[in-house]
Symmetry: C2
Subunit: 125 residues, 2 copies
DNA sequence: TTAAACCTTGACCTCGACGTCAAGGCAACG
DNA sequence: CGTTGCCTTGACGTCGAGGTCAAGGTTTAA
């Protein structure tokens, strides 16, 4: 399939696919007229990238998964480097959750204090 | 005081202070040689900006607080627009917390599955 | 006198993941 | 033959909050 169809089926844009290629994440055969030609495997690879991005991984973080798939493994996370990315990302998410809980508490405190000093602006409205 | 001292006392940089000025958040008298001259009130204002940024508000979100202080109110959050920013930000934090909890769950699931299929990479190491 | 340590404006750089536009080639349909 | 709809590469724009020069003026201490 060509780049437009791959983009549509994967749920992304042609620009993103060309960008992935420029980053070495996606390779493409070229047909005689110079058009990029993709396989079903490429669709799976792009889907993997997108679903990893959806859970907060940066493009760079998806690289181990892509290389794992390219190496012939059945899943992108069948390799140790991918698992390490999971672990690092999980730690990052935990840290962020902690920080956000603190921030939320401070926001609540400030909001309560401000409302107390400025009656008349209550609730959402 | 001049910009260097204000930056040091507030715990930021001169570049940041000039940037705030370019955004209309901070005004400065000029002494005869063209140097910016700041008051203790300015220090309080900058401190307010920094502490609001520390709890996740964008610079633009600090504007109502700055304007509230400039209008002569005792605190930056003594005005309704500031309170609305608190409320909006709180909602954003809540949404993010929810999303992160989901993401965390997906990461855990994927990690567990990957480790099950690829024994030998357990724990942090 | 001259160097150090301030200050000024202006302008380009950073990061991530593309968006958007330009200029042009190729294929198929009417 | 023309137009529509693909495709190509290349290059600049976006966003937030400043960082990092460059080139020069001012003040103070040695």
């Amino acid at each position: 399939m060509r780049i437009g169809e791959l983009a549509q089926r994967a749920g992304t844009t042609t620009r993103a696919l060309r960008f992935y290629e420029s980053q070495g994440l996606l390779g493409a055969r070229r047909s005689s007229n110079g058009y990029r030609e993709y396989s079903e495997d490429d669709l799976r690879l792009v889907s993997e990238i997108l679903s990893l991005q959806a859970i907060g991984l940066s493009l760079e973080d998806t690289r181990p998964f892509v290389e794992c798939l390219r190496a012939g493994h059945p899943a992108g996370d069948s390799c140790a480097p991918s698992i390490e990315v999971y672990q690092r990302k999980l730690a990052e998410v935990d840290a962020l959750l902690d920080r956000l809980a603190v921030v939320r508490g401070e926001l609540l405190t400030k909001l309560a204090g401000a409302i107390a000093r400025h009656p008349g602006t209550c609730g959402v409205e």
